[in-house]
Symmetry: C2
Subunit: 474 residues, 2 copies
C-alpha cells in the first residue's frame, strides 16, 4: 500500500521518536496498560490448549462438507457459548468439493515395491484398473518445464523436487508449484499421469496432500505424491539405471502401477463460523482475527489449522474474560474450505464488503511461537504499529526489518486484504517444523507444542485489543 | 557362565594389572598393531554405507521366503564375491511363515475415524467382514492381567502400554510383552480381539509390527497395533467417556471395526548366507560375526537389520582387504528368518553343533554408534577382553561396568550361545532412536546414520581379528 519511499519516510519518522513518546501519542495509557495485562494473563492461560485438544479429539478431520465439518460447527457454537463470545453464528455457503477415494501405487520394475502415496487434492480419478507405465524422471519442475523432448510421452512423469526447511515457509513456497502445476506441465508433453516427491520437510514414510489445479486447455492427468523415502528410492534406482545405461549394461527401467479414485464437484454445504465482542463506541467497525475451521482429511487438522482456531478463539475469550469492552467490534472468523478454494474468504468478502474493517489477520501456520510482526496499514498508522511492536518485543517478536508494511496476513485474510484493501496484520510463526506434518496423516495433536500456544494468544490479544482501541483508522 | 563371585574375582584380578602389561601378556604385539591399523582403516572406509544403500535400494524388504528374500540371496552372493570373501554359500531350510494380507481399522463411535494400524506378526485373520465391538480400555498389560471382571468379554481389548525411550532398549524390552502375550491375556477374559498402542518411541502416524505368540490352550484372537497418535486419540476419548459416565451424563462409548487378513503356516524355503576368511592355523575354529538377512515387510529393513548386515560384511572385507590372514576362521553369517522364529539360528545350530566356535556375536540394533563392550567368556579369557576393551576405548566404547561378562550377543547369536555355551561378544549400539523406526514402514535408508557406520565396522573388525588371533580359547 505504501511505496518503498513512503515507507522509509514513515519508518524513519517513527524511529526518531522516543518509544514512550510514540506510545503516548497514539494509544491511551490505559489502553496500553490493558494490553500489557492481557499479555501477562495470556501467558498463564491454558484455554488454547483445551480448545485444540478438544477440536482434534472430539471433531477430528473436517474437510468442507464432511461429517467432521458438521461436528466442527456444533463444536464451535458450543465453544463460543462457553467462552461467552457474542453474536455467535454460522453462515452457510454452497460449495463444490473434491473427495478422496482409495488409491495405491507400487513400483513394478525393477522389482515390486509398494509406495506410500496419497492423491493430490482435485486430482481426477485414474481409469478403472489404474495405470501402469514407465517413469520419466525429472529432478525438479524447472527441468520438466524446459524439456522439449518426447521423453514424457506415454509415461508417468515423476518430479523429485525437494522442499527446503525454512523458518518463514519460503522453501515450501518454492516447492509447492510442483504440486499445483506439475500435472499440466506433464500433460503438455503427452504424459499419462503425475507423481511427485511429497512437498514438505519430513523424512517420514507419510505422503503430503494439498490442492493442485489443471490448465483447462490441457488433458487432466491423475496426480499423487509419494513419501520422501519412497522418492529417495526412486531417485536411487533412477541413478543406477542411468549408470547402467551409460555402461551399456542392461538398464533396469523403472515402471509404476497405481490406482486412484476420487470424486470431483460434489455439492455440499459448509459454513463460516463467527463470534464477536461487540464494540462499545464503533460497533460497526471490525477487527477480524481469523483461522480456518476446515482441514485436509488425512490427519486431525491439529497444526493446520486447529492451533490457529484455538489461538484466535482464546485471544478473544481472554479479552472478554478480562472484563474489557473494546471500542470497535472484535470478530473471530473461522473460515470454511480454506484448503481447497478459499470459499469461506470469498463468501465473507461478499457479505461484509461494505463493513469497515479496521484490521484483518489470520493464524494459519501451526502452533510454534510468533517471531515477526508485520502489517499493511496506512502511512499515518505506522506509529501505532511501532507501539504494538514495543508491546510484542518482550514476547520475542521482532518488528519486520525487511518488507515492513508488506506483511501477508494469512491465506483467507489475504483474500480480504487484496479485494477490499482492508488493513492487515501478519503475526508470523516459526515454520521450521510446520512442513514436517502439514497436509499429512501426521497432523495430530501430539505435534502441537503446548508451551508455545500462550505466546501466540498473547500476541493476538494485544494486537486485537489495541486495534480496537486505536484513536484512528488503520 | 561365571557366578557373580567368580566374575568379581576375575575382574579385580584384571584391574590390578597395568593395561599395557595385560595386553602384552595376551595378544602378540603384532596382532595388537594390526588391530589398531584395522581400527584406523575402518574409520576411513565407506563400504558399510555402500552395502546398506545397495541392500535397501536393490533388494528392499525381505521377509523369509519372499521375492525380496530371493533377491537378497543373489545380492549377498554377489557382494561376497566382490568383497573377496571365501567359501560363500547359501544354506537352505524349509520354514513356515506368516504372510500379511489387507487390514484396516476405524473407530465407529463416538464418530467414524480411520486408524493407522498394522497386523501383528502371526495374528490369525479376522472373520470375513471383520469385527465390530466396543473397546475395553486398559492402560497397560499389568492392568489387563489383574482384571478379574468380565469387562473384556465380547469386546475388543485395547492395551495402551507406552514404550520408554532408553539407550539400551530396556524400555522396549518392558513394553514388548504387550505385543507378544496380549492376545492370550485378552482371550482368557473372553475378548474378541486385541488392539495395542504401537510398541516403540515414535510419535509418527505409523504403526509397529512384530511377532506375537498364542497360548495354545486359548482361543486365538486377531491382533493389531495402532500408531501412537491414534492410541492418544483413543486414550483421550476414553478419558472423556469416563468423565461423562462419572458425571452421569450420556457416555459416548468407543466402538471399533476392523478387518484383518493374513495367512499362517505358508511353507517356503529361506537360507542362511555365509562367507569366510579361512583360518591359517586353526581353520576349524570359528569366529562368527552375524546379522540377519530377513526383515519385516513394511519398510526396507534398513536399520533392522540392513545396517548390521553391512557392518559385519564390511568388517570381514576390511580384514581381507588389509591382507591379514587370521589364525582362526572368521565367518560372516547372515541368518534367515530371525524376525519370526529364529529359524536361521536353529538351522545353523544343528548344522555346526560340533564345530568349535571361538566367539559368536551379532550386529542387530540399528546403525548408531557402539557405546558398550561386553561378553560371556571363560574366566581365564577375561584379561584378553581387557585388551580388546582398551583398543575399543578410543572409539568411545566403554567396557561394561555392571553385569560384566553377562553380555547378550544379539538374538541369533544368543540362541547359539545358550544352546552350545559358545563364548559370545556383545557390542551394544545406542538404541535411543532405534525404536522410532524399528518394525515400521519408516525403516528406510534415510534413517541410517551414515557417519556412525565406520565406528561400528571398526569395533567388529578389531574384535573379530583379535578373537581369531587369541593365544587361547575364549
Amino acid at each position: 500500500m505504501l511505496s518503498r519511499r513512503q515507507w522509509l519516510a514513515a519508518a524513519s519518522a517513527a524511529t526518531v521518536w522516543p518509544l514512550q513518546a510514540r506510545a503516548q501519542a497514539n494509544f491511551s495509557a490505559a489502553d496500553l496498560a490493558h494490553a500489557e495485562r492481557l499479555r501477562e494473563l495470556a501467558l498463564a492461560d491454558g484455554e488454547a490448549w483445551r480448545l485444540v485438544e478438544s477440536l482434534t479429539r472430539d471433531v477430528g478431520a473436517r474437510p468442507a462438507g464432511s461429517e467432521g465439518d458438521r461436528r466442527a460447527n456444533a463444536w464451535a457454537l458450543a465453544a463460543f457459548e462457553r467462552l461467552k463470545l457474542e453474536a455467535a453464528r454460522t453462515e452457510a455457503m454452497n460449495v463444490r468439493v473434491w473427495q478422496r477415494g482409495a488409491a495405491q501405487a507400487r513400483l513394478t520394475a525393477p522389482y515390486v515395491q509398494p509406495l506410500v502415496m496419497t492423491a493430490l487434492g482435485n486430482s481426477v480419478a485414474a481409469p478403472a484398473g489404474g495405470i501402469e507405465a514407465e517413469l520419466a524422471y525429472y529432478p525438479d519442475l524447472k527441468t520438466l518445464a524446459a524439456d522439449t523432448s518426447d521423453r514424457a510421452r506415454g509415461r508417468i512423469v515423476f518430479i523429485d523436487e525437494r522442499t527446503e526447511r525454512t523458518r518463514d515457509g519460503s522453501g515450501y513456497g518454492r516447492a509447492v508449484s510442483t504440486r499445483v502445476t506439475g500435472a499440466s506441465e506433464a500433460a503438455k508433453r503427452g504424459a499419462l499421469a503425475l507423481a511427485i516427491r511429497s512437498v514438505g520437510t519430513s523424512s517420514n514414510r507419510i505422503a503430503h496432500t494439498g490442492a493442485m489445479r489443471y490448465d483447462i486447455a490441457l488433458p487432466r492427468l491423475p496426480a499423487f505424491a509419494v513419501s520422501t523415502p519412497d522418492a529417495d528410492l526412486i531417485a536411487g534406482l533412477q541413478t543406477q539405471a542411468q549408470a547402467q545405461a551409460q555402461a551399456q549394461a542392461q538398464s533396469k527401467l523403472l515402471r509404476l502401477h497405481f490406482t486412484l479414485d476420487a470424486r470431483e464437484g460434489v455439492e455440499v454445504v459448509t459454513h463460516n463460523l463467527i463470534a464477536e465482542i461487540k464494540g462499545s463506541e464503533l460497533p460497526d467497525e471490525v477487527v477480524l482475527i481469523g483461522a480456518h475451521i476446515d482441514s485436509w482429511d488425512l490427519g486431525q487438522g491439529a497444526l493446520d489449522d486447529g492451533a490457529g482456531v484455538a489461538i484466535v478463539m482464546a485471544a478473544a475469550a481472554l479479552i472478554q474474560r478480562a472484563g474489557l469492552r473494546p471500542k470497535r467490534t472484535i470478530r473471530v472468523v473461522l473460515f470454511g474450505n480454506e484448503e481447497n478454494g478459499f470459499d469461506g474468504a470469498h463468501a465473507y468478502s461478499e457479505r461484509y464488503a461494505k463493513v469497515k474493517h479496521q484490521l484483518v489477520g489470520e493464524s494459519d501456520f501451526g502452533a510454534a511461537r510468533i517471531w515477526r510482526f508485520n502489517h499493511r496499514v496506512s502511512n499515518p498508522a505506522l506509529p501505532l504499529m511501532a507501539s504494538m511492536a514495543a508491546l510484542l518485543a518482550p514476547l520475542g517478536v521482532a518488528w519486520a526489518e525487511t518488507g515492513r508494511n508488506e506483511g501477508n496476513p494469512g491465506p483467507d485474510a489475504a483474500v480480504l486484504m487484496r479485494r477490499h484493501r482492508w488493513p492487515a496484520v501478519a503475526l508470523t510463526q516459526d515454520g521450521s517444523s510446520y512442513f514436517d506434518v502439514h497436509h499429512t496423516e501426521n497432523d495430530t495433536l501430539d505435534k502441537v507444542e503446548r508451551a508455545a500456544l500462550p505466546f501466540n494468544v498473547a500476541c493476538w490479544a494485544v494486537v486485537a485489543w489495541l486495534a480496537a482501541q486505536a484513536p484512528m483508522s488503520f
